[in-house]
Structures are given as structure tokens and as C-alpha cells.
Amino acid sequence: MFSYIIRRLLYTVPIVFGVMLITFLLFNIVRGDITDQIAGKEASAETRAEIKKEYGLDKPLFFNTEHKVFSKQFWDSQFFNHLLAAATFDFGYSYNDREAIWDKIKRGAGPSLALTAPMLVGEVSISIILALVVAYFRGRWIDNLTVLICIVGMSLPFLSFILFGQYFLAFKWGLFPVYFWPDLSVWQYTLLPTFIGIAAGLGSNLRFYRAVMLDELGNDYVRTAFAKGLSPAKVLFKHVLKNAMIPIITQVVLAIPFLFLGSLLLERFFGIPGLGYLMIDAIGARDFKVINAMVYISAILFVVFNLITDICYAIVDPRISFK
């Protein structure tokens, strides 16, 4: 058990290194020199040199040939600085407003979670309940109709959900506030985006859980339970639900790192000052440092939660071993 955890832990090391490498390739090599962007076109040579020095852009990418010793060549390079910054979670300052990126992220995490956490809970619970009911009525009109609605829901672009939802529910009928306003309480301004997010994601979730439940319903224990004379509600919500827990938990745990990301589009439309909004701002301003930090943090979260799920599995089911 212990050795499994250690090996699984070691397995994440190359992945984390890979993420560091990819972010470096993308944001330091492919993107090219960003001195112009920071300094402006008319900056003097001294200013440019100063900026380059401040952001460490004056150093070579991988190996600094000024030094004689190989290890020193590596330490004094942009890549090593990138690794160091990533490993210590020190992402520096935003190019544009020179605010520490950590402060930005800390500020945005709250509003993002306030939006996405209820969204996940609502989406999962609604789609599991519906999936159980629909799977029970497999092949009947209620099942066919639900599957059809799911497909339509999956086919509609997310943007249309947001725009039409915001237009009708908030703007036209005035049921919800249209936009974020600091005086409003949290639940007031996140209610409509949460609702829209659930509606947009319901189609694919419901189809997934329906397939899971259909798998379970074919098992012998279900037939036994019905034969004992249990009510359908008891069979579905007690027996089937319990046995379907493993795919459900996997799905939910792996969705948790995405909660932190917030919802790019929902936050943009409803003016929620979360991490999605931060990302959109950074894209508009081409602030690569912020995007780099977000990519890195979300990948790390994903790796960590993956690790947690695997270890939980190993604890629950001792048959699972590495590979």
C-alpha cells in the first residue's frame, strides 16, 4: 500500500515537469520577445535593457555559455528561472498593472468557487436523480424524450444558453440581476449564472449518468431486489445508487480542479470578478504571465486530484495496484 502511494507519487513528477516544460515552450519560446509589448514602441534602448533584466529575458533560454561549469550554465538560464518560479509558486507581477499575480488569483478564487461549486453540486444531483428515473423507464417515451432533450441541449452552443438566458430571465422578465453589483449578496448575483450553467451542462451529464445507471440496472442484484418486492424508489435510490458510486465519485472528484478555474464565459457575461474573468482580461491584454500561472496551477490541481482519486481507489479496493 505504502509503496503503491510512493510509486504513484513519483509518477506525478514527470507530469509536473512536463507541464513546466510546456508552459515554458509556449510562453517563453513560441511567443517570442515581449519587451516591445511592455515597453511600448518608442522606448529607448536603456529602458528595454532594464525591462529585459527585470523579467530575466536577457538570459539565454536553456544554457548560459558564459559560464564554464555545466551546472552553472543551466542555473543561469531562463528555463531554470521558470522551473524555480513554478516550483515555488512565485509567479511574479502582471505585465500590465504590476499587481502580484498571487494576489489576483487569491482575490478571484472566492467568487469563482461561489459560482462553480453550487453549479457542480446542482448539476450532479439533478442529473443523477433524473438518470435513475429515466433509466428505470428505459425505452419508453419519457426516456426517449429525455435523451432527445439532452442531445438538443448538448448541441446548443454555450454562448446561446448564456445570452438568451440573460436576456429573457434577467433583462426582459427581471427575475434576476443582469450584472454583478457589489451591493448584492453573493447568492443573488450567482443564482442566474449557476442556473444557466446547470442547464447547459445537464445534457451531457445526464447522458453519462444514464449510461452508468443502465449498466447497473442490468445486474442480477437489481432483479433480486425487485423480486423481493422492494419498491422501485427503494431499489433505485438505495441499491443502484450505492453500486454506481465509483463512476460518480470519479466524475465528481475530477471535476473539482475545474471549479477553481471558474467559468470563463459565465463570469465574463455576468461580470463576476473571479478567475474566469481574470483569464479573459489577461487574454485581451495578452498578459502571458497571468495565463501561464493559471495553466500551471490548474494542471497541478488536476494532477493532485487524480492522485487523490487513485489512492482512494487503492484504499477502497486492495486489488488495484500500480500498472
Partner: protein, 308 residues
């Protein structure tokens, strides 16, 4: 006698494909969806041809056909936008951009995913470790964030003399990030198949590895690739919409995402037609792809289960 025997009609064998197509034809809805997809493809080809051969309809979408914000009428079937441009022309023109992006993104991800997946599965060892490492790394970054990062970095770069802009950036970003799933799929299939007798037989004939992979192995599970792509095409179209909406896509021509972006401000004023037209265009092709993809999966590979 021998001649007589030769004239006997051979028993008609059914290949996987002819069997699948026969099953598919029995599903009326799937056939309708197939023709809807073909219609979209034809429209896209027509727009491209019209654009090459001059200012024919609807390549002349940037000519005003009426007052601004005309509601739908017989003259302007889908109404007009703020500049008096015909929405119908814009939607038809957007078809070309969306399909082009989804098509090239598919090609790129197939061209990367299939060789990498086949190599990893077939040769195993260190090559496998490296390729698995690359795609596990890529798949640990949230998909939408990865596409955004790629699109943002590639935007306005020059590559081999050509400036990357608009639709090119979008399909490069989607293609370079979405090969991961196809690679994983192919690797798994190759691993499953490479211990089978027909592969040993091919090797004993002296076939090269390349020939075994592409001539013997790949045709045996290529239908899985097709199925996965018919379902993934939709997500490419939706990704294009989001990227264009965020300003990372086509700037000077009306893609569906750009239309939704410009309609965003018109909707509260009550000008609903541009938004509705773009939404419907996306909805219809997505529905058709979804239903057709499901039917294709059921008729080509009944063992595959619905995954969400």
C-alpha cells in the same frame, strides 16, 4: 464443367463497412442527418468557390442590402445587422469558416495522433514511455485553457513565411491540442491487436513494421477513429465559436462566433435575428452530427457503449 462452375455467382460477403452502411440506411433519422451534414459541406464548398471566382453571393456579404436592423422579411430573409448587411449571407459565409476550421483541426489531430499512437502501441518501451508522458502532460491541463493558450501564443506569429491569423490560428490551436484523445485511442487498439495471429502472419511474410501498422493494423480499427471524429467534429465547431467570440479567431469575416459576439449587444435592443440565426445554424449541424455519430457507432461497433 469448369466453365459452368466459374459462372456461378459468388456468395456475397459483407464487409464491416457494407454491413454498417446497410444498418445505417435502415435508420431514417440518421440518413436525414447525413444529408443535412452533406448540405452544410456543399454550402461551405460553394462559398469557397464563390469567393475564389469573384464577388458572387454570398462572398459579397459586406455589401449592405437594406437599412440597418431590418427585421426579417422576404427581401432580407434573416434581417440585417447594424451595417445593413444581410444576416443570411453572413450565416452562409460563416458555414465555410466553421467547417473549414473543424475539417483542418481534424486533419491535424489525425496526422499527429495516429502515427504517435500507433508507434507508442506497436513499439512499446522507451518510445511508448515518452509519447505517453507527452499526452498525459497535455491532458492534465484543462482543455479549454490549453486551446486558449495555444491560440493566444500562435496568434500573429509567422510560420514558414505565412502569417498565422484568423481561422488558421484557430484550427492550429484546436488540432495541436486535440490529438491526445485519438493518440490514446489508437495506442490502446494497437496494444490489443498486435498480439493477434494476423500480425504474426504478416511479420512472417517479411512485412516491414510500417506496412504492418498502416496496411494490416490500422484498417481494423479505423472505424473507431471515424466514429470518434463524427462526435468530436461538433466540439470543434463549438470551440471555434468560443475562440472567435473571445477575439482569437477570424477578425474580418463573419464566423458564427463573431456573429454571436456582435449580436450580444443587439439582443437587449430587441434585435434578436442575428443571434437566433447563428444559434440555429450551429444547433442544426450539431444535432445532425450528434445523431449521425450515435447511429454510426451503433451500426459499426455495437460493442462500444455510449460515453456521455
Amino acid at each position: 464443367m469448369a466453365e459452368e462452375r466459374l459462372q456461378l455467382e459468388p456468395i456475397e460477403g459483407r464487409s464491416l463497412w457494407s454491413d454498417g452502411i446497410r444498418k445505417l440506411k435502415r435508420r431514417k433519422l440518421a440518413v436525414i442527418c447525413f444529408w443535412i451534414i452533406m448540405l452544410y459541406v456543399a454550402v461551405a464548398c460553394y462559398v469557397q468557390a464563390a469567393q475564389w471566382s469573384g464577388d458572387y453571393w454570398p462572398a459579397n456579404w459586406d455589401v449592405s442590402t437594406g437599412e440597418k436592423y431590418e427585421s426579417p422579411s422576404w427581401k432580407n430573409f434573416c434581417g440585417t445587422d447594424i451595417f445593413g448587411y444581410s444576416i443570411l449571407r453572413k450565416v452562409v459565409y460563416g458555414t465555410k469558416i466553421s467547417l473549414k476550421v473543424a475539417f483542418f483541426a481534424s486533419i491535424i489531430s489525425l496526422l499527429i495522433g495516429i502515427p504517435l499512437g500507433a508507434t507508442a502501441g506497436y513499439f512499446g518501451g522507451l518510445v511508448d514511455e515518452i509519447i505517453t508522458w507527452v499526452y498525459s502532460t497535455l491532458s492534465s491541463i484543462p482543455y479549454i485553457l490549453l486551446i486558449l493558450a495555444f491560440a493566444l501564443v500562435l496568434k500573429d506569429k509567422t510560420f514558414m513565411g505565412a502569417k498565422l491569423a484568423g481561422a488558421t490560428t484557430v484550427y492550429l490551436a484546436i488540432g495541436l491540442t486535440s490529438w491526445v484523445d485519438i493518440c490514446r485511442l489508437i495506442r490502446g487498439e494497437v496494444l490489443k491487436h498486435k498480439q493477434k495471429e494476423y500480425v504474426f502472419a504478416a511479420r512472417s511474410y517479411g512485412c516491414s513494421n510500417l506496412r504492418i501498422i498502416f496496411v494490416h493494423l490500422l484498417p481494423n480499427f479505423f472505424h473507431i477513429v471515424i466514429i470518434s471524429f463524427s462526435l468530436r467534429f461538433m466540439s470543434f465547431i463549438h470551440a471555434e465559436v468560443i475562440l472567435s467570440f473571445l477575439g482569437l479567431g477570424e477578425k474580418n469575416s463573419p464566423s458564427w462566433g463573431a456573429m454571436i459576439d456582435s449580436a450580444r449587444l443587439d439582443l437587449p435592443k430587441g434585435y434578436w435575428w442575428e443571434m437566433t440565426a447563428a444559434t440555429l445554424a450551429i444547433l442544426v449541424i450539431s444535432l445532425a452530427l450528434n445523431i449521425f455519430g450515435d447511429a454510426l457507432r451503433d451500426s459499426l461497433d455495437p460493442k462500444l457503449k455510449a460515453k456521455g
